[in-house]
């Protein structure tokens, strides 16, 4: 990777990080501590769906105020090596799936608040680990060979690395893109079902005060 690619990769990673920052886990923990969660749970809507749509406007707002302008700037002002045309469309799909994965992980961390109430530590650890292992701090191609081989089998790269790869890797053809989208969908299904199981289990144990 040369300087321009690294620069584009990292600025896109920062942008995606900003896009995904919706503090869902934090929100659930607050609901848990002040007891307001009892009101939410009486509503005839699934808690996970409720949280998703509660925070979706943030993501959309972030998209139009952070992601979109930055991509435009990178293409037209800095003339960075970004794939245009159909790749932008695939990038969009990819980023939607990676948000769904990120959301599921966030939700799992948030539901942990059902047991521990405060989740400050877990939330922070999660951010640090995801950011590092998915290429948000250092582009994955710069990682040492062994570590990269391990990361092939972990879901982290689906969050930052894959959407960014679609935008900046010149050697990708349609088949590669379809393949990485398939991998993303696979990991989304795994993590999403995990979050469902976890939530079903945690829901039965919930204890709260006040409300």
């Amino acid at each position: 990777m040369n300087f321009e690619e690294t620069f584009t990769y990292l600025s896109l990673a920062t942008v995606v990080f900003g896009l995904f920052q919706t503090w869902i886990d934090w929100d659930i923990s607050q609901l848990m501590i002040n007891g307001d969660i009892s009101i939410v749970l009486t509503k005839p809507v699934d808690f996970q769906i409720y949280m998703f749509f509660k925070r979706l406007p943030w993501v959309i707002l972030n998209f139009f105020t952070i992601t979109f302008p930055t991509v435009i700037l990178l293409i037209f002002v800095f003339h960075m090596p970004i794939n245009k045309g159909i790749n932008i469309f695939f990038f969009f799909i990819s980023i939607v799936i990676s948000y769904l994965i990120y959301f599921s992980i966030d939700f799992i961390v948030g539901v942990t608040a059902f047991y521990t109430e405060s989740i400050w530590g877990l939330s922070m650890t999660k951010d640090a680990i995801i950011l590092f292992l998915s290429g948000g701090v250092i582009p994955l191609p710069l990682f040492p060979e062994n570590l990269r081989r391990v990361l092939e089998f972990l879901p982290f790269k689906t969050i930052y690395h894959m959407p960014i790869e679609i935008l900046i890797n010149k050697n990708l053809n349609i088949e590669n893109i379809i393949y990485s989208l398939a991998v993303q969908i696979f990991w989304f299904l795994v993590i999403f079902s995990l979050s469902r199981f976890y939530y079903r289990h945690a829901e039965t144990l919930i204890k709260m005060n006040g409300g």
């Binding site: 047991y115 521990t116 109430e117 405060s118 989740i119 400050w120 530590g121 877990l122 922070m124 650890t125 640090a128 680990i129 590092f132 701090v137 250092i138 710069l142 990682f143 040492p144 570590l147």
Partner: protein
């Protein structure tokens, strides 16, 4: 004067005890966050070493020199985490009206507000910072003399004052506009830039970081005293001056804001 200082010291001790007790309320989270702090900082060091696997030096800065700056900035950022963590809650307290309680005690409001929270998690960051600093100190074979230790302590204190002042100023904007969490996040994210030498950035950013948002004084200029021996006499004198005067400005702005707050009527 001395009596007053002792009184405040005793108060601070009581506040800390009380805060640790309330943190231990969420015991599991407390343990997880202590581990998380360590994991986060170790990942930071790991990313430096990965970076240097592919790039042997950045504009003449070697791995151990960067490690030195990294460790230095971890130490310098710890006091902010340890003693001033409550500034994150300021927007919430102002909006809900809870802030009114800080006016009702016959002690300095600035002291009362920040003494209330002592974030013990910062200690793990401090320890990693100290370890990193002395590891690279040894590798770089810097002399371990009394003068150097003295300069180190002075520059650590003034560096932390710079970072604390920036965050306090950013948080006190809340007295005028209420919700400043995005601004706080922005300034807080700038701390990432304190971990690298300023001269790897382009001249515009270098100017900004030296004169507008002076985060270069947090870790870079102090580390330069040890790593590059040029013109250090002037820097040693300038650092405490910048730290202390920024802190006084931050204190003035904060208390001015606190005088302005009128509550929410709850």
């Amino acid at each position: 004067m001395w009596k007053k200082f002792n009184y405040y010291l005793k108060l601070y001790y009581l506040f800390v005890i009380q805060d640790i007790k309330s943190k231990m309320q969420y015991r599991i989270d407390f343990y997880i966050s202590s581990i998380g702090m360590i994991v986060g900082n170790l990942l930071g060091i790991l990313s430096l070493s990965i970076l240097f696997k592919s790039i042997p030096n950045i504009l003449g800065w070697t791995y151990y020199e960067l490690l030195f700056i990294y460790g230095f900035s971890l130490i310098v950022l710890s006091p902010l985490q340890l003693f001033f963590d409550n500034l994150w809650n300021l927007p919430t307290y102002l909006i809900t009206g809870d802030f009114i309680k800080y006016y009702l005690k016959p002690i300095n409001i600035f002291f009362y507000y920040f003494a209330e929270i002592f974030d013990i998690k910062g200690i793990s960051q401090l320890l990693i910072g100290i370890f990193t600093l002395f590891y690279s100190w040894k590798k770089l074979q810097i002399e371990l003399s009394i003068i150097n230790i003295g300069i180190l302590i002075v520059s650590i204190i003034s560096g932390s004052l710079v970072m604390i002042s920036l965050m306090v100023i950013a948080s006190s904007v809340a007295f005028w506009v209420l919700n400043v969490t995005p601004l706080l996040n922005f300034i807080f994210r700038l701390r990432e830039y304190t971990k690298y030498p300023i001269d790897i950035f382009d001249p515009f950013l270098r100017f900004i970081f030296s004169f507008v948002i002076p985060i270069a004084f947090v870790a870079y200029y102090p580390s330069k005293i040890f790593l590059r021996h040029s013109n250090n006499n002037l820097l040693v004198l300038i650092l405490p001056f910048i730290g202390i005067s920024l802190f006084l400005i931050a204190y003035k702005i904060w208390t001015k804001g606190a005088k302005r707050y009128t509550g929410t009527g709850v």
